[in-house]
């Protein structure tokens, strides 16, 4: 199991603990993450320049093809935009030609096909829940986890093909293997609000609060995230909320680290 590791732009400075825990978990599970110098996935610039967004994404496919590896990313937004670029390239011949032209100037070519995976899918398919269960040393029994899906991987479902966009289950499958109790909650496939951060902070805050309150009402101890942006929203930006009693957001790789005995269980998870 070798993958070209696509951390995305925000991990190195804004969320280094995600990168660290992804590496620990993958090493323990025998998933080899090959460092490849990728560029931005193109998601942040999609608001203003579609061509720059698609070109940025496709250039990464060319780089991955050079390494001869499928891409794995722990970020839902990176995953979503890479998949979106693939679908646009397949459906718009004029765009595909223009992108190919630009790539040619750098001595690169549009690869025929590039596999793009989110880390959750890799854990689900390559490792599997049963092996995860076997490897669990410190079961997270009693921990009630609300899995937060992240919009850009789920939708549009026909583009991302991540999971059932209306009733996804991959996140729960992976985490229930650790012994944690996963919850069915109303807003689990709703937006965290981060895409509006800095653009409309009031609505961004409102979306975050509503979601966390819903998780709390569903009885969650923690909200599990599998996306850099979602975790930045629920982790770093939550200090804007005045309510301290909302469940804490935890990166799913940190939950796995704890379950696999790679890191101690923090007390704050209220086990």
């Amino acid at each position: 199991m070798r993958y070209a590791y696509f951390p995305g732009c925000k991990i190195p400075h804004h969320l280094p603990e995600y990168g660290a825990s992804v590496h620990t978990v993958c090493t323990a599970l025998g998933i080899e993450l090959v460092p490849v110098e990728f560029a931005c996935c193109g998601w942040p610039i999609r608001h203003e320049n579609p061509m720059a967004s698609i070109y940025s994404a496709v250039r990464n496919f060319a780089v991955a093809a050079k390494a001869g590896l499928p891409i794995v990313t722990p970020c839902k937004c990176c995953f979503g935009n890479l998949r979106y670029a693939q679908s646009r390239m397949a459906s718009d011949a004029r765009l595909a030609a223009a992108v190919g032209n630009l790539l040619g100037r750098e001595g690169l070519a549009v690869p025929a096909h590039t596999e793009v995976h989110h880390l959750l899918t890799v854990l689900d398919k390559d490792v599997g829940a049963s092996r995860l269960r076997e490897m669990t040393r410190t079961p997270l029994s009693g921990l009630r986890v609300a899995c937060h899906y992240g919009c850009h991987a789920l939708r549009p479902g026909n583009v991302t093909e991540f999971d059932d966009p209306l009733a996804p289950s991959v996140f729960e499958r992976v985490l229930s293997a650790t012994g944690a109790q996963t919850l069915d909650w109303d807003l689990r496939v709703e937006c965290c609000g981060h895409p509006l951060r800095g653009r409309d902070d009031a609505i961004s805050d409102a979306l975050m609060r509503k979601k966390l309150e819903n998780a709390r009402d569903a009885g969650a101890d923690v909200v599990a995230t599998a996306c850099t942006y979602c975790q930045m929203q629920f982790g770093q930006e939550r200090s804007r909320l005045s309510q301290p009693a909302l469940p804490q957001a935890v990166l799913f790789t940190r939950l796995l680290e704890a379950a696999l005995g790679l890191a101690p269980l923090p007390d704050s998870w209220a086990l």
Binding site: C9, K10, P12, H13, H14, E17, E37, F38, A39, C40, G42, P44, I45, H47, E48, N49, P50, M51, A52, Y55, S56, R59, L102, E106, C151, H152, L154, R155, P156, G157, P165, L166, D186, E190, C191, G193, P195, L196, G198, R199, D200, I203, S204, A206, L207, K210, G235, Q236, E237, R238, S239, R240, S242, P244, Q248, A249, L251, R254, P266, S268
Partner: protein, 659 residues
């Protein structure tokens, strides 16, 4: 006092004045002074300052780190070697060669003569070393030129100052070699030396010495010196007795001697023209010129970059070398409500926020760039530069603009380009990690972004909120399609078939999480998603460009996923933002050209008195948009369920609760 000393003093004065001017140009007003953030102040209050022993220990650790950085980062150029061994070789050759020349040759009056016993510039090993150092510099400069020419991305980025510095370095060393070569062949120089230091006993002695120096050391006399073996024998003896105390054989000046041989066919005209004197003026003139240029552009880097590297103490991230984790307990600071910075988080996994670098550190960083281009060659958003073409997207170029921005000398158009580059940067830390000069670029970008945001220059999302959708409909509608739209052809929003299926069922609106969290959606968002679709269906695209809903869309794609008729709602909203951005860019609009709407919404006074304007804008925006639509397209009959429907109960989003 010689002319040279006067010139040198003058050039030094120019250099120092330039340095002071360069340092004083930064205006703190524009570049947010670092100062302590509230979280840091709280932290300090929370943790009493360490005692004397603690402070001394910290100072000792800090000094050790600075020393380590001076060795590894400055002398060994370890940072450069990490990313580009080729550039490391080129720069090591230049750095060590030039330092050798500077210390032993240029400053020989101050260093070599007083401190090295028996030093003489024309004795070995010094003569040989000088040629070696010079050859290293020329090789390094050649490699550097090749690097810039061979990498297309770097060639595009190279500016005049990049070539100028390389030319200056190669010019100083090259003219030095040329000077030494013409001195070797010059009979004038020979005569000057013998007049001063040689007392011939008889006529044949001078001829003998000439013969010897001509054959062995390459002096070219007109007419040529004798090659009689007996005379040569005598010359060798005389050389042994008189010259060798100060002169090694010129063969050890291996570059200059080879050059002398190469130019020997032109020896007569060169000697007649006193090329030795001309080249001395050229060599010294170039060196003085380079010294005078020191305060400008990257000519400063031999001073600023080592200082910056030592100040950064080997750090490769934005946090800097502060030993926070060791000294300050990592308990979380008390929760600070309101606008606490992102770093001051209350969640345990995040590290304690590092102190912001001081203003002096930031200024040093701004000046320390060598324009090696490594950051831009590895920049995460370089593909965006390929498409957009704004050099400010790349860190090395953005830094130039940032310097002018802090000085307050950036023109409006350049400021827009700088703002666009800053906006596109994803803060991925790669440039900071890579920078061979150790510049804390991440901190500079974060600081300049927040400064741009304060000035409301952070992009279309801010601009669009400066006036109402109706005002934007007027402004952007009058402008017409941008070049981008014309080239791209009809987009989703232009094509009737995108909306053929739309039955105005309001599913998109009822699943929208943004609509759901708004207390008064019609006021906060202007129009609901399904109303925007209806507006577009009628061809009123310009009227939709400034609608709040378009700009406050969180891109969660629920609308599109749930649409029973497969209308690509979210993709269309994306497209509207892209179109507005392009139109802004084309017209260089960074603020609303019309008088802004008063933030306090006044109830409609006299609705429908005329076209949109400040009076109209104070009325409910949704109604204004509808009126604007009527005004702009008098022929279009507004259907009952278009814009004004925001006031009726049919699409009241409060009733449409999300799943």
């Amino acid at each position: 006092m010689s002319t040279f000393s006067i010139l040198l003093a003058l050039v030094c004065a120019i250099c120092i004045a330039g340095l002071i001017r360069r340092y004083a140009r930064h205006r703190a007003r524009l570049f947010a002074p670092p100062g302590k953030t509230r979280a840091e102040s709280a932290q300090t209050a929370h943790n009493p300052p360490p005692g004397l022993a603690g402070r001394m220990g910290r100072a000792a650790r800090s000094a050790a780190r600075s020393l380590a950085a001076a060795v590894t980062d400055v002398l060994l150029l370890w940072r450069t070697a990490r990313t580009s061994p080729y550039r490391w070789l080129a720069h090591t050759l230049i750095l060590s060669g030039f330092t050798g020349l500077l210390v032993f040759h240029a400053l020989d009056d101050i260093i070599s003569y007083p401190y090295i016993a028996g030093y003489e510039s024309t004795l070995d090993p010094w003569q040989w070393l000088r040629n070696l150092f010079g050859a290293m510099v020329l090789c390094g400069a050649g490699l550097a030129v090749l690097r810039r020419l061979r990498t297309p991305a770097l060639r595009r980025l190279s500016r005049v100052q990049d070539w100028l510095l390389l030319a200056a370095v190669a010019g100083i060393v090259g003219s030095g070699f040329a000077l030494e070569a013409v001195k070797i062949i010059s009979p004038h120089v020979f005569t000057r030396m013998t007049d001063e230091y040689f007392l011939p006993q008889d006529e044949t002695e001078l001829a003998a010495l000439r013969a010897y120096w001509s054959t062995v050391n390459g002096v070219i006399f007109t007419p040529p010196a004798s090659t009689d073996p007996a005379l040569l024998e005598q010359g060798a003896q005389l050389n042994e007795n008189n010259c060798v105390y100060c002169h090694a054989e010129t063969a050890s000046a291996f570059v200059s001697r080879a050059l002398a041989t190469a130019v020997s066919p032109a020896a007569a005209p060169l000697n007649n023209a006193r090329a030795d004197q001309l080249l001395w003026y050229l060599h010294v003139g170039l060196a003085l010129l380079a010294l005078a240029c020191m305060p400008y552009g990257k000519f400063l880097h031999p001073i600023a970059t080592p200082l910056n590297l030592v100040a950064r103490q080997g750090s490769r991230n934005a946090a800097g070398p502060a030993d926070i984790p060791a000294d300050i307990p990592t308990d979380t600071p008390p929760d600070i409500p309101t606008k606490a910075p992102a770093a001051a988080t209350a969640s345990p996994p995040s590290p304690v926020s590092p102190p912001s670098p001081s203003g002096a550190q930031r200024r040093l960083g701004l000046e320390a760039c060598t324009r090696c281009g490594e950051c831009s060659l590895h920049c995460s958003v370089a593909p965006a530069y390929t498409v957009v073409g704004n050099p400010n997207i790349l860190p090395s170029e953005k830094l130039l603009s940032l310097r002018r921005y802090t000085e307050g000398s950036l023109l409006p158009a350049a400021t827009d380009a700088f703002a666009e580059g800053s906006r596109i940067c994803t803060e991925c830390l790669r440039c900071t990690d890579i920078c061979p000069s150790g510049i804390n670029l991440q901190d500079l970008w974060l600081a300049s972004k927040s400064s741009l945001k304060k000035e409301e220059l952070d992009g279309p999302n801010t601009t669009i909120r400066q006036c109402s959708a109706a005002q934007w409909a007027n402004v952007l509608g009058a402008q017409g399609k941008s070049r981008f739209e014309q080239e791209k052809g009809d987009g989703l929003a232009d094509r009737a078939e995108s909306f053929w299926g739309c039955v105005q069922c309001t599913t998109c609106t009822s699943v929208c999480p943004v609509v759901a969290v708004c207390e008064a959606p019609a006021k906060d968002l202007d129009l609901m998603p399904q109303q925007i679709m209806n507006l577009l269906r009628m061809g009123l695209k310009d009227e939709a460009l400034g609608v709040r809903m378009v700009w406050s869309c969180t891109t969660c794609y629920k609308c599109q996923e749930h649409c029973p008729q497969d209308v690509p709602v979210a993709d269309i909203l994306f497209e509207l933002r892209q179109i507005a951005t392009e139109r802004f860019k084309e017209r260089r609009l960074t603020s609303c050209p019309l008088p802004a709407v008063s933030p306090v919404r006044i109830p409609p006074v006299d609705g429908g008195t005329g076209p949109t304007g400040p009076t109209m804008a104070t009325t409910s925006t949704a109604a204004t948009v509808a009126t604007a639509a009527t005004v702009t397209n008098p022929g279009t009959a507004l259907e009952p369920n278009t814009a004004p429907a925001a006031h009726t109960g049919t699409s009241d989003p409060s009733t449409g609760t999300p799943a």
